[in-house]
């Protein structure tokens, strides 16, 4: 059969015939209208085969008119790269769009891959588990991988913009079909904040292709009136083209909002009450070759005719097990599609539908099922057989009906994905032969289900239940509300027979899951091999695991599994639905968090000033900090060396603003810190500073830094820059969870203060030249003390602490004054002051033998390993980690301990990350690591720090080091290479 040039009806539908749109399908120019989806436009042009199936490369056509589509998942270019796996049944047609079938070699109409279909017997479920073990999977993997995948990674730049939004509401109604609309109508003007979310670009759901009467007007008119009522209601927010994709704990739901072209918004909604009016999915019938182009869901056929004014085919057989497909047959018939027969598996057909069929002259074949279909690219005929009395086989003769399409209805299955995500349980309703929300079992969230999603498949029931549920949930949310008045005279019968699977035929040609090419035979095989739990069946056959997540396959698979294992469907159960309900672009989930906004960089208060002074920045945790200053065109190495030497000779100025600063205030501040620090915090006098370390419960060093007592009830804790946030949280945890009785407040003040550290032999002289009421003399302000005063007219706090080993003043001023401090000091110091970057500071502290927690220590280093044994022994009271330090393992003499190292050979490149190793004779193994290493400009040789087994007792020993395949010898030394007596620092 050659498809007719156009299957478009001349009138009707919700398309705009005044706005034609051009597009291409696999290169061929075609035309559609505004209001079309891509799929409806393809059908209008008589395109039967749109794609090839995943495994067997069989020709496939459009099978649905909704999000459950399994076949028409095509590649679409619309100015933003080629996007794969586009559900063309719901994607609006846009002028100039290029649509491609992702599979088919050389093309979708003639695909060499079809050879897999002809040899399909070899590729039954789980075949790859049984094969490809010799010589190894690697030999086959490439080929198998290339065959999988639905389209290619989009190339080029992503032109979309992604935003995040957060919103609270009283009532969230998901789905604007009859039930959702009836519910929303009731809450309009109730005062509750109502959010109505619909994934389609229009409200209406099934009403968009219905034609029934509501409140004695036609549904189209009712729909447009309702839409304007809701849009006018101040308390109702209507979102279209927006899909609720996830339902998380605490009634938080996520929405993917595509209502603006080129923008995807990801919403998080926290709702007091949720009403799910998410509808139901029609289920396919299972018979031989039920996957051919031209076979589609009945409801979809009706949607194409009524909503898009497209005849899916000129002659269509309707096959069903329930009443709803009769309305489809009538709609098709009334719009010029010839319906040669309604094949109905039920023996007795209700008068109300059979009469109407008779009036239209549509023959009904009762008690019959479709056996098989014929046609290569499109249907040419179907064969139909009568069911035997027990329904387990069919009896001759078989009738053959010529047709071009087949609309099938296996009844509906509620769309319960969100309900299940919310924690709701489902139960199998034998009468409706589907899973419905189990009202007996309470759900942990505030959620209600109404309409088809709750198994109310007739329009009348959906409207009534929706209206009632709307007012109930609004009431629950605390707002008075009465149900909206909605009534319909529409035909409401369902009368389903629980029969979807034709009992005869070649089961390896009866499709259960179109998307993954899973057949009845695959399920039989799984059962034969004892994959009889739902999870096993699903994973073994991959049924329901494709991009549609089983919307049209799970139910049939479970029904089959139940039959084949002589269990009820209830016993078999279902798998849990996982978010998202519909796939969400990853860009939307991340939102604007990328590039500069991915972990936004934290800048120093005087950032621009540093830029002006030639700073070369690096990332240090979230901070951008000067690594070194490339003044006078110096290269990195020269700059760093000169910075080190300048500080040692005269003075260096370092911006220490990112250092973590936490204030602990309250009568119990001292007691609290005494429990946190290894060191005694209570004996510290106001105005004094102490170096301390913090441990985890396991005695592991997690942070170090100085803490100062600002007043009797106020301490200032400094943490390492990288750990600042973590330590704040850690302190809060101890305070809130373990010692809530302690009276204190923890506040982070890191970014409130700018810190300029001036260090070096000339530091004091330089400071004394500056206008200040602070006495910088060693008597007034010795090492490890703190004072406050005015400095250049600013409020300043000055701490005598040193990381470089030189006399050092840490001047803290309000962050906004940061630039001024740096500038004034630099200007007044002239040549005598040099700016110091992080790398120089790292060398300075290595020379001094000061450790860097997280670099010179690791997750195994305890307080004793870094020489805190004495302090630990002296502290009588308990502190975090103390108990762990008492264990034998923590006190062993052969633990990795903090040492200094220097290569025996001066020219040897010692690098951080090298390992100390034992000799070959002992069996080579690591006995520790070099944790810091550098060339010391001060000492003019290479030095390093490390953690070495039994290191404390091994000073002077020669040890072999391994690095990247190279080995050489080093000497173990004391970690302090510079000024061991501390005279310079204390000056």
């Amino acid at each position: 059969m050659t498809p007719s040039p156009t299957n478009r009806l001349t009138s009707g539908g919700r398309i705009d015939r005044t706005q034609p749109l051009s597009f291409r399908f696999n290169g061929k120019p075609l035309q559609g209208y505004s209001g079309d989806t891509i799929a409806s436009a393809l059908l209008a042009n008589g395109i039967g085969t749109v794609n090839r199936s995943f495994k067997y490369h069989r020709p496939r056509g459009v099978m649905s008119a909704g999000v459950e589509e399994t076949n028409a998942l095509l590649t679409v270019s619309g100015g933003n790269g080629d996007i794969p796996v586009v559900r063309t049944t719901v994607r609006a047609l846009v002028d100039g769009q290029l649509i491609k079938s992702p599979s088919g070699f050389p093309n979708v109409n003639f695909d060499l891959g079809r050879v897999l279909d002809f040899t399909h017997r070899f590729w039954a479920a789980g075949f790859y588990n049984k094969l490809f073990k010799w010589p190894s999977w690697r030999w086959y993997e490439g080929t198998v991988r290339r065959m999988a995948g639905l389209g290619k990674l989009p190339d080029g730049e992503d032109g979309n913009k992604y935003f995040h939004h957060n919103v609270h509401c009283d009532v969230l109604i998901v789905g604007a079909g009859p039930a959702g609309l009836a519910a929303a109508l009731g809450c309009a003007n109730s005062g509750a904040r109502v959010l109505l979310v619909e994934q389609d670009h229009e409200l209406g759901g099934s009403l968009l292709a219905d034609g029934a009467q509501i409140n004695a007007i036609d549904s189209d008119t009712w729909l447009s009136r309702t839409t304007s009522t809701l849009e006018d209601a101040a308390n109702v927010t209507v979102m279209t083209s927006s899909t609720v994709s996830g339902y998380y704990d605490h009634n938080v739901l996520t929405i993917t909002d595509r209502s603006t072209t080129g923008v995807v918004r990801f919403w998080k909604v926290r709702a007091k009450e949720v009403l799910l009016a998410t509808g139901a999915f029609e289920q396919p019938l299972v018979f031989e070759n039920n996957d051919r182009p031209g076979v589609m869901l009945a409801n979809a056929a009706m949607t194409y005719v009524l909503r898009y004014a497209v005849k899916p085919a000129h002659v269509m057989v309707v096959a069903t097990n329930n009443d709803t497909a009769y309305r489809v047959a009538f709609a098709l018939h009334d719009n010029g599609v010839r319906v040669p027969a309604i094949v109905d598996s039920r023996e007795n057909i209700a008068e109300e539908v059979s009469k109407e069929a008779g009036e239209r002259g549509i023959p009904i074949m009762a008690g019959s099922v479709v056996l098989d279909t014929v046609g290569t690219k499109a249907l040419t005929r179907v064969s139909v057989g009568r069911l035997s009395n027990d329904g387990r086989s069919t009896v001759d003769p078989t009738s053959v009906i010529a047709c071009q399409g087949l609309a099938m209805s296996g009844g509906f299955n509620p769309n319960c994905s969100l309900y299940s995500q919310a924690g709701g349980s489902l139960r199998y309703d034998a009468q409706l032969a589907c899973f419905v929300p189990d009202e007996e079992k309470a759900c942990r969230q505030r959620v209600t289900v109404a309409g088809a999603a709750n198994g109310k498949f007739s329009l009348a029931d959906a409207l009534t239940e929706g209206a009632r549920a709307g007012s109930t949930v609004t009431g629950e949310a605390g707002f008075a509300c009465s149900p909206a008045e909605v009534a319909t005279s529409a035909l409401g019968s369902y009368h389903l027979k629980a029969m979807r699977i034709t009992p005869t035929g070649d089961t390896s040609r009866q499709w259960v899951d179109f998307a993954h090419d899973v057949t009845v035979a695959d399920i039989e095989l799984a059962v034969r091999e004892n994959f009889v739990s739902v999870e096993h069946l699903k994973r073994y056959t991959t049924v329901g695991m494709a991009v549609d997540q089983g919307k049209t396959s799970n139910l049939n698979a479970l029904t089959l599994l139940a039959e084949l294992t002589d269990r009820s469907v209830e016993e078999v159960g279902t798998t849990t639905f996982r978010p998202p309900f519909m796939p969400v672009p990853m860009g939307a989930i991340a939102g604007p968090q990328h590039g500069d906004f991915y972990a936004p960089a934290r800048l120093l208060p005087a950032h621009d000033w540093h830029v002006d002074h030639g700073a070369v920045f690096e990332n240090y945790g979230p901070w951008k900090r000067p690594e070194y200053y490339a003044t006078n065109g110096r290269d990195r190495e020269t700059a760093i060396r000169e910075e080190v030497l300048a500080l040692r000779r005269s003075a260096g100025l370092f911006d220490g603003s990112p250092l973590g600063k936490i204030e602990i205030t309250g009568p119990d501040a001292g007691e609290f810190l005494n429990r946190i620090y290894v060191n005694n915090a209570l004996t510290l006098k106001p105005g004094r500073v102490r170096y301390g370390i913090m441990l985890s419960e396991n005695g592991i060093v997690i942070d170090d830094g100085v803490f100062a007592r600002l007043a009797d009830d106020c301490y200032l804790v400094s943490t390492t820059t990288a750990n600042a946030d973590h330590i704040t949280a850690w302190l809060e945890q101890w305070h809130q969870c373990e010692w809530p009785d302690l009276n204190l407040v923890i506040s982070t003040v890191t970014s409130q203060w700018a810190v300029a550290t001036l260090a070096g032999p000339n530091a004091r002289t330089l400071l004394q030249e500056i206008e200040s009421d602070i006495d910088f003399s060693v008597q007034a302000l010795p090492h490890m003390t703190l004072t406050t005063g005015t400095f250049l007219g600013m409020h300043a706090r000055v701490q005598r602490v040193s990381f470089s080993g030189e006399m050092s003043f840490e001047i803290s001023v309000p962050a906004l004054d940061g630039r001024q401090v740096m500038e004034t000091l630099m200007n007044s110091g002239g040549d005598r002051i040099t700016l110091i970057g992080i790398e120089a500071l790292t060398i300075l502290r290595t020379e001094k033998g000061y450790l860097h927690v997280g670099g010179d220590t690791d997750g195994m280093t305890n307080a004793l390993d870094i020489g805190f044994g004495g302090i630990v022994a002296r502290k009588k009271t308990d502190f975090v980690g103390k108990r762990s330090l008492l264990r034998g393992g923590d006190q062993r003499k052969d633990r990795r301990q903090f040492v200094g190292v220097e290569p025996l050979n001066d020219n040897e490149e010692l690098e951080s990350g090298a390992h100390f190793i034992t000799s070959q004779r002992e069996g080579r193994r690591s006995q520790g690591v070099v944790t810091s290493a550098c060339f010391s400009p001060t000492l003019n040789r290479v030095i390093g720090l490390g953690l070495l087994e039994g290191g404390f007792a091994r000073k002077g020993e020669t040890v072999t080091v391994f690095d990247d395949g190279r080995t050489f010898d080093v000497r173990i030394t004391d970690p302090t290479f510079y000024d061991p007596g501390g005279e310079k620092m204390n000056a």
Binding site: V85, R145, L153, N160, F531, S533, N698, S884, D964
Partner: protein, 414 residues
């Protein structure tokens, strides 16, 4: 056990696959067993298999409260590697990787081990030093590790944006690392164990342990009481629950760990990429889905579902490194309950009770350990003494302080 081979498949194909036997039996529950293993995840099943195969124990049951492989083994992101920092871990995990390398043939079941290489990234000089430290440790343990420059990283994985917010400073790769198919591992072990006569009992939850003067004698289950000479616990996220039944405490906390996959696309990523600092890892499965993971949701829970904040962080991290993935869609998100110890190393071996053994604390990384875990636990159960490879992983270390902290070296969940 009827062999799976090309020939048998061809024969069965002609026969419409009518002749395949069950992959594992559904046995009658007996009153007594020599060994009862609680939990039919990878570890429980592998232990049963090696008990039967290596130690000729005949009378074994594996009790599973749900369906076999439905726990973490069926939810994980399938990464296998042996690039561990501490020698004890390296020896154990490399033993595991070697067993994995022969597993498809050993079990006569293709577990689809794909040794496509596992790349670990560094995003600063400091991290690069950490990676050097780590790679050196691995090489001293006689396992291969190759340091890569940023250019080499880019060449290996062109989709990585090495100039992202935290530019890639380099990385290292273990070429033998990769992924395999978790379900196949579970099914392969179940099938092979069942063929040796192991009774795998599903839908059978252990509710209490029978204890007489410090030794276990059996279990109470939802299907009645079962006597056992020896009992081994392999229940991952529920380890604390089982320990409670045995009246001892384990230093384990349980929390949800999420994983997620994108819609399947044609092959575009041929390496497993992991960034301990940006906190994400990603690989592309043979089916074409991007398989993504990151850190655990930091709250205690037995509910197998994850939250939004971690999802967002995880995806943002992936996109920062792989901007080309923004237009791909996330298809499924789930979580398993992981059992985390203070030093992130497993707990294996004897327990305070006689004849009761434990394999737990696998946390975020026990999938790769399944073969070695099973092998060494089987030995341990038979000899009532820890296998030499797992001596240091006993519960005692939390009393002695001889911890083995891998988190310190690797710091990422996988």
């Amino acid at each position: 056990m009827k062999g799976y081979s090309f020939l048998s498949l061809a024969r069965q194909a002609l026969n419409r696959h009518q002749g395949w036997p069950v992959a594992w039996r559904t046995p009658e529950l007996k009153k007594n067993y020599d060994v009862v293993i609680i939990g039919a995840g990878g570890h429980g099943l592998a232990t049963a298999y090696y008990l039967a195969k290596n130690h000729q124990i005949k009378n074994i049951a594996v009790l599973e409260k749900g369906s076999l492989g439905g726990g973490n083994t069926g939810r994980n992101t399938q990464i296998t590697r042996s690039n561990y920092f501490w020698p004890q871990s390296a020896a154990f995990f490399d033993h595991s990787l070697k067993l994995y390398e022969g597993l498809s043939r050993e079990l006569n079941f293709n577990v689809m081990l794909s040794q496509r290489g596992l790349l670990t990234l560094a995003h600063s000089l400091h991290e690069l030093e950490g990676i050097q430290r780590w790679a050196n440790a691995i090489r001293i343990n006689e396992i291969e590790a190759e340091i890569l420059s940023p250019i080499e990283v880019k060449k290996l994985v062109p989709l990585i944006d090495i100039d992202c917010r935290f530019p890639v400073h380099g990385g290292f790769i273990q070429r033998r690392g990769g992924i395999s198919r978790h379900d196949a591992v579970v099914w392969g072990y179940a099938r092979a164990a069942s063929a040796y006569g192991v009774d795998i009992i599903q839908q059978c939850e252990v509710t209490a342990l029978n204890i007489q003067s410090g030794r276990v004698t059996g279990v109470q289950t939802t299907r009645g009481t079962i006597g056992a000479d020896k009992i081994s616990i392999a229940v991952a996220g529920h380890t604390t629950e089982l320990a409670r039944m045995a009246d001892f405490r384990v230093p384990i906390t349980s929390m949800p760990l999420q994983a997620m996959v994108s819609e399947p696309i044609k092959p575009c990523l041929h390496t497993v990429v992991m960034s301990p600092v940006i906190h994400m890892y990603v690989s592309q499965s043979d089916r074409g889905e991007l398989v993504i993971g990151g850190g655990a949701d930091l709250y205690n829970s037995y509910a197998q579902r994850g939250g939004i904040p971690l999802l967002q962080e995880n995806i943002a991290a992936v996109l920062e490194l792989f901007p080309a993935f923004t237009r791909l869609r996330l298809m499924r998100q789930w979580a398993g309950i992981v059992d985390i110890t203070p030093d992130t190393s497993p707990v294996m071996g004897l327990t305070p009770l006689q004849n009761l053994y434990i394999s737990g604390g696998w946390g975020t990384g026990g999938y790769k350990a399944i073969p070695a875990g099973g092998d060494t636990m089987a030995y341990t159960i038979v000899h009532d003494e820890a296998h030499p490879l797992i001596e240091d992983f006993g519960l005692a270390r939390f009393e002695t302080g001889a911890l083995i902290d891998e988190g310190a070296a690797s710091g990422v969940s996988h």
